[in-house]
Amino acid sequence: MPTKLTINGETRELDVPDDMPLLWALRGELGMVGTKFGCGVGLCGACTVHVDGVATRSCSTPVSSLAGKQVSTIESLAESPVGRALQQAWLDADVMQCGYCQAGQLMNATALLAKNPSPASDEITSAMAGNICRCACYKRIHAAIAEVAANGVSADA
């Protein structure tokens, strides 16, 4: 049965097997490849998207469970002030090496700051512990989040 959901503000109807994970509907059916495949079983966080604002592993979330939900992906991150501020902080700190996991890192960091705008250092660390960076840019990811947390986010950032 087709599932109707909202992706980055647009209503989409997906006619895929009920158990197809959102990740593979995004990448294979909609051509939205910003969300990354890393492990397929929810262990690495590379595929993180927001479902109704909550950081969610798209590789382990069946499309059929998302009827009527609001999904947002890395492609729409710049539409939120927190997302924009984090994108800029990522560039300012030259966070990344290969960059493959960074869509997931950014989506997870945005969800963290949306919920807790001024996390303590160890709150950042534990909130980000589910996202693997194989290049181990952790020091810079942490610093970029702390930077945004310290400076706050203006609505027109």
Partner: protein
């Protein structure tokens, strides 16, 4: 692989001569071939294969080497732009396809891109600048020698006239192409781009989620493929029942691929093609394949361990190096210490799983979008496998989500091409699952070392022995499972002998970041720490005593050209620097301890100090790492440089704390990140890095910071608990 670990200083004519890399194909001897071309077209003037300048002043610089996260796409153009005297804000960087006749050698590995390109990329920039100067001089009717350049602008100091590069570019394309060997290079003190921290050129696209990686390739009509291969290494396909998989809704085709017995090329398997990769991959559950595992299904890590111990009890099969009189040293020793060390197989697990997109056209020509560190061997291998001439195979090099050496081997390119050859006219994107990636790697070889050291009555280290047990494949020790005769402290202990014995295996083995060094550093620097403790001294003191007063080793011929030999002076420089940074002589705070490690690899000298403690559950915790490195006189891009060092340090800590690939029944037991637990953010220590700038050409940083951190950690744990870590990963019960 010792050769790859040695430097390539280029001869002045930029002639790169290279040897063969086993398993990777032959390297070409190349110059910078595109230098002879200059052309105008499409509005931009192409001054050579690397530099084009448009009338509006935008300078397009081609970055030729594969980008795996090491920062090369940003760094090579910095070298060109420096000598071109370009305004960096007007520089646009583009990646390149595989095109060795145009760009020269293109690969990512061995921390070689910096030493191999330090001179030729600057020459490419300087040659383009020379052509711009000559065109401006012609227009003004002056001699080019008197003109000055800065930030994409030419000035005639005599008249005060100026001209931008954009204004003069199209006439410059008609200038004579200068002789690279004679083109003047900048005085290094005038560098303005080299040494500047510049962010990754693709980073803005990455934070927006734009398609940029190999697996993001999308082509009209493209289909996805999954590939099922034998779990047991060395197994061959006997028969396969494909009907149930074919019946899965959405599956478009299922077929057997016949391979050979070289895992670096094509192995037997079954391909499943569908319009969505998840459907293709899931249909693998329906396959019924009968594998002929031969004798290999009996292989296991436990079995290898038992064989290694048996080999230790027998005379070694071969001698790697023998210096002085080892028997006499042990006969005359006041104290002899012995220790057995072991390290496991490791996987690379780059974040982007292996993938490749291939299109075999009706006329037999092939187009590939390949995340490969070594496009040359993939190009050659695919052409040979499909029986088409090389010029009919086009390889687009994509950005890669990590490499770490895994993508030096192009098995995934062979698979994608073999599948696409069965679906002519349809682009096929092959993607591996993470399980495929962990179970079909070319692993860092496991190894066993049995050490003995002789200490004389004065406490001096007079003799050292290592009986190394490694693997052979079809009777030969694979390149990355070898140990060379110059592994430190060879040459610095008067009586020394390294021997080797090997056992047969079909586990594929390859280069993992800092190959060989990542393991040898752990065992040698740990055992030397044991020797120092026995002497009542400490590791840096012992290292300094071995190194002081010794001359630099002579230039050596290695992969990519001549390179300086090991320099005790540079080693001492980083050892002393790290001691000072970490305040080595002052004990760590209560409940913590410091450990030391030094290693020379990939032309880089690194000494590192780790400060560690045990958690309440008695597990190792790394608090602080101090790293001192000498990679020559310039840090070309401090951003990329520091990022590589920080990443290498955490990578090494992660390996030591928890990573191992275990073989059982001839197959890898690990499958995903739950049983191959890569380090995560909570592992991250404070990291302080300082560079010791020596008067040597700059060398690469992808690898040399990793090896010393592993023994620095295990030595810190010994200082803390009195317990030696003689096997990796660190046994969680060791400190209970």
């Amino acid at each position: 692989m010792r050769e790859l670990a040695q430097t390539a200083q280029l001869s002045r004519r930029s002639l790169l001569k290279a040897g063969a890399l086993a398993g990777g194909g032959l390297f070409l001897s190349v110059t910078l071939p595109g230098m002879a071309q200059a052309a105008t077209g499409g509005g931009a003037a192409e001054l050579n294969a690397f530099v084009s300048i448009a009338p509006d002043g935008v300078i397009t610089i081609v970055s030729k080497n594969p980008e795996i996260g090491q920062g090369i796409k940003t760094m090579l153009p910095m070298l060109i732009a420096e000598e071109l005297d370009a305004d960096w804000d007007q520089v646009k960087i583009v990646g390149s396809d595989y095109h060795p006749t145009k760009y020269g050698f293109q690969f990512a590995g061995g921390s070689m891109s910096t030493p191999m390109n330090w001179l030729p990329m600057r020459q490419a920039g300087a040659a383009a600048r020379q052509m711009l100067l000559e065109a401006a001089a012609l227009e003004w009717g002056v001699a080019p020698a008197g003109l000055r350049t800065s930030k994409s602008t030419i000035t005639d100091p005599a008249s005060g006239r100026t001209m931008t590069y954009g204004q003069v570019a199209s006439s410059a394309a008609k200038s004579k192409v200068p002789d690279l060997a004679k083109v003047p290079l900048k005085d290094e003190k005038d560098f303005v781009i080299i040494g500047r921290a510049i962010g990754g050129i693709d980073s803005p696209k990455i934070v927006r989620g734009e398609p940029i990686f190999g697996v993001d390739t999308q082509l009209p009509g493209m289909k996805y493929a999954a590939f099922e291969r034998a779990p047991v290494f060395g197994a061959r396909l006997r028969s396969a029942d494909l009907e149930a998989a074919k019946a899965v809704p959405g599956v478009e085709d299922v077929f057997v691929i016949e391979g050979g017995d070289n895992p670096a090329e094509l192995v037997d398997g079954v391909a499943i093609v569908a319009g969505n990769w998840w459907i293709a991959n899931k249909a693998r559950e329906k396959l019924k394949i009968d594998w002929d595992t031969g004798e290999w299904a009996s292989h296991s890590s436990a079995n290898y361990d038992a064989q290694a111990k048996k080999l230790w009890a027998e005379p070694p099969k071969d001698t790697i190096v023998e210096e002085g009189d080892v028997s006499a040293a042990f006969a005359g020793a006041a104290k002899v210490i012995e220790a057995e060390y072991h390290y496991p197989f490791l996987a690379h697990v780059p974040m982007e799983p292996q993938n490749c997109t291939a299109l075999v056209k009706e006329d037999g020509s092939v187009e590939m979008w390949a995340p490969t560190q070594m496009p040359q061997s993939g190009h050659q291998g695919v052409a040979k496998m499909l029986g088409v001439p090389g010029e009919k195979v086009t390889v687009h090099i994509t950005r890669m989500g990590g490499g770490f050496g895994r993508r030096l081997t192009n098995d995934f390119m062979h698979q994608a091409a073999a599948i696409a050859a069965r679906k002519k006219g349809t682009p096929i994107q092959l993607i591996w699952s993470r399980e495929d990636d962990l179970r079909s790697d070319f692993y860092r070889p496991a190894g066993w070392h049995k050490f003995r050291a002789a200490i004389d009555a004065e406490g001096k280290l007079t003799g050292l022995e290592d009986h190394f047990v490694t693997f052979s494949t079809k009777g030969e020790i694979p390149m990355f499972a070898q140990m060379g005769p110059k592994v430190f402290p060879a040459g610095y202990v008067p009586n020394l002998k390294y021997t080797v014995s090997q056992m047969e295996s079909r586990v594929p083995m390859g280069a993992l970041r800092a190959p060989q060094s990542n393991a040898l550093s752990y065992v040698f620097q740990s055992f030397l720490d044991e020797v120092a403790a026995e002497q009542g001294s400490d590791l840096p003191t012992l290292l300094l005593s071995l190194l002081r007063g010794k001359p630099d080793e002579p230039m050596q011929r290695g992969f990519g050209g001549e390179s300086p030999g090991f320099s005790p002076k540079r080693a001492i420089g980083v050892i002393e620097k790290a001691m000072q940074m970490a305040d080595w002589s002052t004990p760590a705070a209560e409940g913590r301890a410091k450990g030391f490690g030094f290693y020379f690899s990939h032309n880089g000298y690194f000494a590192e100090v780790v400060e560690a403690s045990l958690s309440r559950s008695r597990q190792p915790v790394v608090h602080h790492v101090w790293a001192a490195g000498d990679v020559g006189k310039h840090i070309i891009n401090p951003h990329g440089a520091l990022n590589q060092i920080e990443g290498s340090i955490i990578d090494g800590i992660g390996q030591a704390l928890g990573l191992a690939v275990k073989i059982e029944g001839g197959a890898v037991q690990q499958s995903n990140f739950h049983d191959y637990p890569l380090p995560r953010m909570p592992v991250t220590p404070t990291i302080d890095v300082e560079f010791v700038k020596s008067d040597n050409p700059p060398t690469g940083l992808g690898e040399p910071a990793l090896p010393p951190v592993v023994p620095a950690l295990t030595n810190a744990l010994h200082a803390l608990t009195g317990k030696r870590v003689r096997s990796l990963p660190i046994d969680r019960k060791l400190f209970a």
